[in-house]
Structure formats: C-alpha cells, structure tokens
C-alpha cells in the first residue's frame, strides 16, 4: 500500500467510523458493567444473609437463662431511704430495714448505720460520738435485737 492511499479515505468517513467504534465500545462497557454490578450485588446479598444467620438467632430459640441476663430492673429514688450520718448520705435500699431503723432512737440508728453502711469499727464510732467503746457495743447489740424482733414479727 502506497502512503498516498491513506489520503483516499474520506476524513468524514474516518470520523464516522471512530464514532461508531466508540459507541459500540460504550455499549459493551455498559453491558459488562450492568452484569458485573448485578452479580456483585447478588453475592453481597448472599453473604449478608449468611452473616446474619451466623450472628443472629430467633428470640423464641434463645434459652430462658440467656433472656434473663438481658433484663435490667430500674431503681427509683423513692424506693430507698437516705439517712444523714456524719454529714454523709447513707442509702438504705431495703424498705423493711428502713422501717425498722425509723423506730430506733437517733443514736442507735446512727451506730447501726455507721457500723454496717460506713463500715466503721466500734472504736472509731466511739471516738466520733465521744462515748465509751463498750457503750457503742451495747447500743449496737440492743438495736440489732430490736430490729430482729421487728423483722420477725412482720411476716
């Protein structure tokens, strides 16, 4: 082919040819992309289903023990009683014990609260109230006796 033969092709025709080729390429690209996207989506979907099956289980199939682990019970301020001892708030959650504590005299109640809720020793309490240690001990025991009779009577 002589070099001059290139000139014989009409430039417009070449242009048209390129245009046509371009369009066919796009058509194939589009088709390929569409199919690829759909296949990918399908495999993603299947994988997500498999993942869900592995990590999730039906509520009805969970054992009672596991369900009980899930629940929480609310606590309300009204359910508990606060006592002020040594400028500290002591929290008593049990209603019955709180009622029993209410019947005691202030000093005995303070001793009980300090001993059991603030975890102080007899000697520390005695120092705080400036009384003898044995007094604290006696008070504590009589208070415990009173609480015991109260709680035993109730039910």
């Amino acid at each position: 082919m002589r070099p001059s033969s290139f000139n014989k092709i009409h430039p417009e025709k070449v242009n048209y040819q390129i245009q046509d080729d371009f369009q066919t390429t796009i058509q194939f690209q589009f088709d390929y992309m569409a199919r690829k996207v759909m296949i990918r989506t399908k495999s993603n979907y299947r994988r997500s289903i498999g993942r869900r099956r592995r990590h999730e289980s039906l509520f009805s199939e969970v054992s009672d023990l596991d369900i009980n682990k899930l629940h929480t019970s609310d606590t309300y301020r009204l359910d508990r009683r606060f006592y002020k001892v040594l400028s500290m708030d002591v929290e008593v959650t049990d209603c019955q014990i709180a009622e029993a504590l209410d019947t005691l005299s202030k000093r005995k109640r303070d001793i009980i609260l300090m001993f059991y809720y603030l975890e102080m020793s007899d000697a520390e309490i005695a120092k705080e109230l400036s009384v003898n240690r044995s007094t604290v001990y006696r008070n504590r025991h009589s208070a415990l006796e009173m609480i015991k009779t109260l709680l035993e009577d109730e039910p």
């Binding site: 058509q27 088709d31 992309m33 569409a34 199919r35 996207v37 759909m38 296949i39 989506t41 399908k42």
Partner: protein, 75 residues
C-alpha cells in the same frame, strides 16, 4: 457459533444516563430476565423434588443496584 450479544443502543444508554425515565425503563426491561435468573433459588422438599422460586427481595436489590449503576455510568 456464538450468538451475537444483544446490546442496548447507544442513544438509549446516553438518555438513561442523563435520567430519562423511558430509557431507564427500557434498560430495566432489557435486563429483567437476567435479574430473574440471578434471583432464582431452588428449594428441595423431602422427596428431593426441586422447586424454583424467585427471591423478591434479591430481585429488588438487584434492580436498585442496576438503577444506581445506570445513573453512575460514565460515558
């Protein structure tokens, strides 16, 4: 000899890419069969008879993906 692939005309691709509803519908129609083929599942019962059924959810997802792809396609 392999059958020649049926392709979507260029003008329709162009129109769909710029958001033409009719062109998009044409493309969806074109791939409808393919989507159904992909979304078909086989179920086997206790007598090992196979049943075909089309997973509607997967079909929907595939259609959505195709729509997204049409709009994202760069010419």
């Amino acid at each position: 000899m392999r059958e020649k692939k049926k392709l979507i005309p260029f003008s329709i691709i162009e129109a769909a890419n710029s958001g033409d509803a009719i062109a998009i519908q044409y493309i969806l129609k074109h791939y409808e069969g393919y989507i159904v083929t992909l979304a078909t599942k086989t179920l086997t019962d206790e007598y090992s008879n196979g049943y075909f059924f089309v997973d509607k959810e997967m079909q929907e997802q595939l259609t959505t993906a195709l729509l997204q792809m049409i709009l994202d396609f760069e010419i």
